[in-house]
């Protein structure tokens, strides 16, 4: 399982981040491969796992989105895309896409939303998520820092973090910097996408290359 992806939903923004290293076994194949794709106006997907399956999945979703646009004359909303992704994954229940996805974006009210998936399409809307090899290192840290949207809390609370956009971005950078230290598959460069009402913004941060 390679690479790490993280997403955090805010009140009016969403941050999705993934490292850009592609590796196999103990070798690095490339240090600069983007795993994040913008599927629609307000939906961005980051996936870890087997990259050929990830790429195929991205293409299928992009084609389905085009068809949707032709039929409905508008872009797919993030929750609609979330359902489509789930259905697409389950369609191959008996020969799955080896892809561990995180879908982030803005819902129809403009609030940030993050959906997290397993390989066969089981999904849930959450306030934050991490997938990939570094997820085991990052998730406990996010549980601690982002208390309120944690799915572990009962009763279930609002699924977005009260943090501001810049605080969330800093948090993501901290997560990756730490994960890079211990996880061999995570590193090289961090790609961060921020979605908010004014559009999409990309940021990069260097990570350790070893």
């Amino acid at each position: 399982m390679c690479r790490t992806c993280v997403a955090i939903a805010g009140a009016d923004y969403c941050v999705i981040a993934a490292d850009t290293r592609m590796s196999t076994g103990y070798s690095i194949l490339t240090r600069d491969y983007s795993k994040i794709i913008q599927l629609a106006d307000k939906s961005v997907m980051a996936s870890s796992g087997f990259q050929a399956d990830v790429r195929a999945l991205q293409k299928v979703l992009a084609a389905r989105h085009l068809i949707y646009q032709h039929q409905h004359n508008k872009q797919m909303s993030c929750p609609a895309m979330a359902q489509l992704l789930s259905n697409t994954l389950y369609y191959k229940r008996f020969f799955p896409y080896y892809a561990f996805n995180v879908l982030g974006g803005l819902d129809s009210e403009g609030k940030g939303c993050v959906f997290t998936y397993d390989a066969v399409g089981s999904y849930e809307r959450v306030g934050y998520s991490a997938q990939g090899s570094g997820s085991t290192l990052i998730t406990p840290f996010l549980d601690n820092q982002l208390k309120s949207p944690s799915p572990l809390l009962l009763p279930a609370k609002d699924a977005v973090t009260p943090l501001s956009e810049s605080e969330a971005i800093d948090l993501v950078k901290t997560c990756f910097a730490s994960a890079t230290e211990r996880d061999i598959y995570t590193g090289d460069k961090l790609e961060i996408l921020v979605l908010n009402a004014s559009g999409i913004r990309r940021e990069y941060m260097e990570l350790r290359k070893d």
Partner: protein, 276 residues
């Protein structure tokens, strides 16, 4: 020509070597409201007349986006046109899924023509009753094709189909030599004038016509009503008589320059909810 014993079946030849059902299908195209296409070296403009069956109803959609680089306008049985547009969209999506590049217009047109031909050689099918003006851009430049119900297709510099299209064709025949080097604005203007010819006296307003453009650096899109109305106003000021007198020297080079009125700010998308 009509009502003879060889026209019941599309699979029956007449002694003169004609398939009457196919020819009747082409008649259906002539009955539809007009659609016009023109192309320059870098742009293709499609225009059509909006015919609503009554004051209470909306007009039918006659221009369809097939892909970012291809659009189609139809005349005839609009239902057939809708179905064929869906086919074309699927073909484009599948091609770019497999080859990661846009489907060349010429290929799409051949596939469409083959599909139409099938219906001329099956006893349980009927020919599509729609003519399609396919306009698009690919590596080899801008193209305009006309697809017939017969399964034939032709490439054109400019063409008009549908009712009263002869008037538009006459106008286009006069002007077509200048189209290759024409600018985007002049091309649209010529489309509007040609369209006006088919209206034969009826007023040309943005509610009676639809214009779509595709060009270098410009994805296929239908111009919104306000833009079209402002273009009509701009051009009609020049004069009512057919512009034989105009010194419309086409601008230098066919390089795409986005007209300031068109780009961005289509303020209210849902102004007339029944419009496309």
């Amino acid at each position: 020509m009509f009502r003879n014993q060889y026209d019941t079946d599309v699979t029956t030849w007449s002694p003169a070597g004609r398939l009457f059902q196919v020819e009747y299908a082409m008649e259906a195209v002539k009955q539809g409201s007009a659609a016009i296409g023109l192309r320059s070296k870098t742009h293709v403009v499609l225009a059509c007349v909006n015919k609503a069956s009554s004051e209470l109803s909306s007009h039918q959609k006659k221009i369809f986006k097939v892909d970012d680089h291809i659009g189609v306008s139809i005349a005839g049985l609009t239902a057939d046109g809708r179905v064929l547009s869906r086919y074309m969209r699927n073909e484009c999506i599948n091609y770019s899924y497999t080859y990661e590049s846009p489907l060349p217009v010429g290929r799409l047109v051949v596939q469409l023509a083959d599909k139409a031909q099938v219906c001329t050689q099956r006893s349980w099918k009927r020919p599509y009753g729609v003519g399609l003006l396919v306009g698009g851009l690919d590596e080899s430049g801008a193209h305009l094709y006309y697809n017939c119900p017969s399964g034939n297709y032709f490439e054109y510099q400019a063409f008009a189909i549908g009712s009263r299209s002869q008037a538009a064709k006459t106008y286009l025949e006069r002007k077509f030599e200048g189209f290759t080097e024409s600018s985007r604005e002049n091309l649209i203007k010529d489309a509007l004038f040609a369209l006006r010819e088919t209206l034969q006296g009826e007023k040309l307003t943005s509610s009676t016509c639809t214009i779509a453009v595709v060009g270098v650096g410009e994805a296929f899109h239908i111009l919104d009503q306000e833009t079209v109305q402002s273009l009509i106003n701009e051009f009609e000021i020049v004069g009512e008589e057919p512009p034989a007198d105009e010194a419309t020297v086409p601008d230098q080079g066919g390089v795409a320059e986005p007209g300031p009125a068109d780009q961005g700010t289509p303020t209210d998308q849902g102004v007339t909810p029944m419009d496309v």
